[in-house]
């Protein structure tokens, strides 16, 4: 009996410290994060996410985007992220306070997406990429996400969000390729990815 009690205590006590530090501590402290207010402009940072972001994040997760794309910018002395123009400053905990789910990611087979909504502001760019990645970036090993689109007959006018496709990808005459609700949500989410506001704890990197 003693052995079992000793084992239990030892195992739980030793391991419990890491549980406190890495699970309980962040759970409690990060729940108390507050926004900052810019004295000059009165703007709040971070500004918060558009209402559709959560829905798009579900699509992002369902299709496993985070297995190849990261969503955090390291400081200038900790990697080339800022030199690669993936962000003007490192990201900190507060940047993620409004995200229902955070996808930091641990692989960069693709580019970092922390500020992709800042780099690319045209939804069409995202649609064309998702429909056929090599059309936008010839060397890309990104798979195509055709199931986020549907090809349908044009009803009267061409839909506003019809994807502008060329060459082999172009739909037959009289048809158009439009994103599904999921496709739209995903692109809205990607467009919302911009952590480009200033935060006092993460000043912009200087040369």
């Amino acid at each position: 009996m003693n052995k079992l009690t000793g084992l239990f205590f030892g195992v739980f006590l030793l391991f419990g410290v890491s549980w406190l530090a890495f699970a309980a501590y962040p759970y409690i402290t990060f729940a108390g994060l507050q926004r900052t207010k810019d004295e000059a402009t009165g703007a709040l940072a971070p500004p918060g996410n558009p209402g559709t972001a959560d829905q798009g994040a579900r699509v992002y997760a369902a299709n496993g985007c985070f297995y190849c794309h990261s969503q955090f910018v390291r400081d200038k002395n900790a990697g080339s992220d800022i030199d690669r123009k993936w962000g003007k400053r490192r990201t900190v905990a507060r940047d993620y306070m409004f995200d229902r789910q955070v996808f930091l990611g641990t692989s960069r087979l693709g580019a970092d997406l922390t500020n992709v909504g800042d780099r690319q502001t045209d939804p069409q760019w995202f649609y064309r990429l998702l429909y056929n990645p090599p059309a936008v970036s010839p060397e890309s090993v990104m798979p195509a996400y055709r199931w986020l689109f549907e090809t349908r007959a044009i009803q009267g006018q061409l839909s506003a969000d019809a994807v502008k496709l060329e060459g082999k990808d172009a739909p037959p005459p009289g048809y158009e390729v439009v994103p599904t609700a999921e496709g739209k949500a995903l692109v809205d989410y990607l467009l919302s990815l911009k952590k480009n506001y200033p935060l006092p704890e993460a000043p912009e990197a200087t040369e």
């Binding site: 009996m1 079992l4 084992l7 030892g10 195992v11 739980f12 030793l14 391991f15 410290v17 890491s18 530090a21 890495f22 699970a23 962040p26 759970y27 990060f30 729940a31 994060l33 994040a57 579900r58 992002y60 997760a61 369902a62 299709n63 496993g64 985070f66 297995y67 955090f72 390291r74 900790a78 990697g79 080339s80 030199d83 690669r84 490192r90 990201t91 900190v92 905990a93 993620y96 306070m97 995200d99 229902r100 789910q101 955070v102 996808f103 930091l104 990611g105 692989s107 960069r108 087979l109 580019a111 990645p133 010839p138 060397e139 090993v141 798979p143 195509a144 996400y145 055709r146 199931w147």
Partner: protein, 499 residues
């Protein structure tokens, strides 16, 4: 001859050797649950293999027909997590639970009164995982790495874990009085830690809706602990049993073994954050993980030294014993894995290797080179004792061994070299991402070949496992397969079949 070793003494006390055909009372009582877990492990290993091959093909050529472009549920973003989940929660966990409960029953020397509980646990586990895997394929992932199973599936899995964990604790509680052995500690510790981390991570992340910035910390605390406090102690517990058993000598130093256990318990929970170097977490968290990764060398070296000194002098005689081969290669991979792990967690090296194929290769070295190799060894040792038959063909076992060694060797070196190139290229902002993709393309193709070798290895293993149930080995081979080499070289035939 075997003085201090609790293990050998107690095994000898268990009375006269039985023939391989006749099972000991303990083995007979634990037979069905262990075989259920073992068979589930093999089944999931094959499912994992299929998705592994698919995912590694998709990585270098996403547009060909065999990458199934346009099929949502077979796309890389789903095939990859399905592979990982089948591998970790299907193969690794089922094999580990099977071997773990076999070891516990054996050491506690109590035949089970009823095997209903662990059998039910096995069924529950399989249902939970099947539901979870189908959900991932359908796009209903929970979206956290290695915690992709949605909450309902995770809950079923946890019920299964709880059943088998409670059963293990009860068994230990009711054991025959006498000294305990280090393997029991490892296995029991693994069950306790895994139940804890699995419950905590799932509750905090999905039910209690952890705040965004806390999620990565919890996620990677879980992943680090999963590798270091669930898979590792199971494999070490098995090796601590099999190595002394096969060389017929007690463990070199029991103190060293205890030191290894407690230092693992102390540092094992701290290692996960190195994945998030430079990430949006307080710096002390990452620093603590780096320190823990380096200190993890203590338990690793303690284990390595202990195995080495136990086996020293006998290795030449035993090198043809397949069980020894798998265990020795697995243990060596463990040392390599830990040394590499501490190297790539230094900030100066980590900032280059982080995000690259090196981390993939590193994880494969741990999951396949270390853990799976030891578990293969355990299968080769345990299954004949439960089925009462020899492995059908030694050639098959050897083929399995060589496909594993060449496959994992190729995979590791390929990903390490490719990952280094990728890391240095990523570090240079002048090289555009498309060019980085181009640079690693050949390495992704070689990865596909290496994965193919490992898939062949897994298929051979599955075939051998199926055949032992179907065909009784011809008499002339009996004793020529797995068992016999140990038997012949040790000239203690009786001891081998008791073991």
């Amino acid at each position: 001859m075997m003085k201090q070793a609790a293990i050998s003494e107690r095994e000898i006390q268990r009375g006269p050797a039985t023939e391989l055909g006749g099972l000991s009372a303990v083995d007979r009582s634990i037979r069905v649950p262990v075989l259920i877990f073992f068979a589930s492990g093999v089944f999931w290993l094959i499912v994992a293999s299929a998705f592994w091959l698919l995912a590694s093909s998709q990585m270098h050529k996403p547009t060909t027909w065999w990458a199934f472009p346009g099929v949502a549920w077979l796309s890389f973003g789903r095939s990859y997590p399905v592979f990982l989940n089948c591998f970790v929660y299907g193969w690794a966990a089922c094999a580990g639970i099977g071997a773990g409960i076999w070891l516990l029953a054996r050491f506690c020397h109590v035949p089970l009164r009823s095997s209903l509980f662990p059998i039910l646990a096995g069924v529950t586990w399989n249902i939970g995982l099947a539901v979870g895997v189908l959900s991932i394929l359908a796009g209903a992932t929970a979206g956290f790495q290695l915690l992709e199973l949605p909450s309902y599936a995770a809950f079923i899995l946890f019920l299964g874990l709880l059943m088998v964990g409670l059963w293990a604790v009860t068994m230990f509680w009711n054991r025959k009085p006498g000294p305990t052995y280090i393997s029991q500690w490892y296995i029991l510790g693994a069950f306790l830690w895994f139940s804890w981390i699995y419950a905590t991570a799932n509750i905090l992340l999905t039910f209690a809706g952890a705040p965004g910035p806390a999620q990565p910390a919890i996620n990677w605390w879980y992943v680090g602990s999963l590798l270091d406090l669930w898979l590792t102690p199971i494999a070490l517990g098995i090796a601590y049993y099999l190595i002394p058993k096969l060389v017929q000598r007690p463990v070199y130093s029991y103190r060293l073994a205890l030191f290894g256990f407690w230092s693992l318990a102390l540092f094992g929970g701290w290692t996960g954050m190195t994945q998030l170097m430079g990430g949006p977490l307080p710096a002390w968290m990452i620093t603590a993980s780096i320190v823990a990764k380096v200190l993890m060398l203590l338990p690793v070296l303690a284990v390595a030294a202990n195995y080495h000194l136990t086996i020293k002098g006998s290795f030449e005689e035993l090198r043809w014993n397949p069980v020894v081969r798998f265990i020795v290669i697995g243990s060596m991979a463990y040392t390599a894995y830990a040394v590499e792990g501490s190297l790539i967690s230094f900030r100066s090296i980590g900032q280059i290797t982080q995000f690259t194929l090196i981390t993939v290769g590193h994880n494969q070295l741990g999951l396949f080179g270390f853990y799976s190799m030891i578990l293969f060894g355990a299968y080769y040792y345990i299954v004949p004792r439960l089925v009462g038959r020899q492995w059908l063909s030694q050639a098959m076992v050897m083929a399995h061994f060589w496909f594993c060694v060449v496959g994992i060797g190729l995979l590791f070196f390929d990903l390490t070299i490719g990952g280094s190139i990728q890391g240095f290229a990523l570090q240079d902002p002048q090289i555009p991402m498309a060019a980085v993709s181009d640079l690693i393309q050949p390495f992704l193709i070689v990865q596909n070949v290496a994965v193919l070798l490992l898939v062949v290895a897994n298929l051979i293993f599955a075939a051998a496992f199926a055949l032992i149930f179907l065909i009784s080995a011809p008499v002339k081979y009996r004793g020529a397969a797995v068992e016999s080499s140990a038997e012949a070289t040790n000239k203690i035939g009786s001891e081998v079949s008791v073991a």
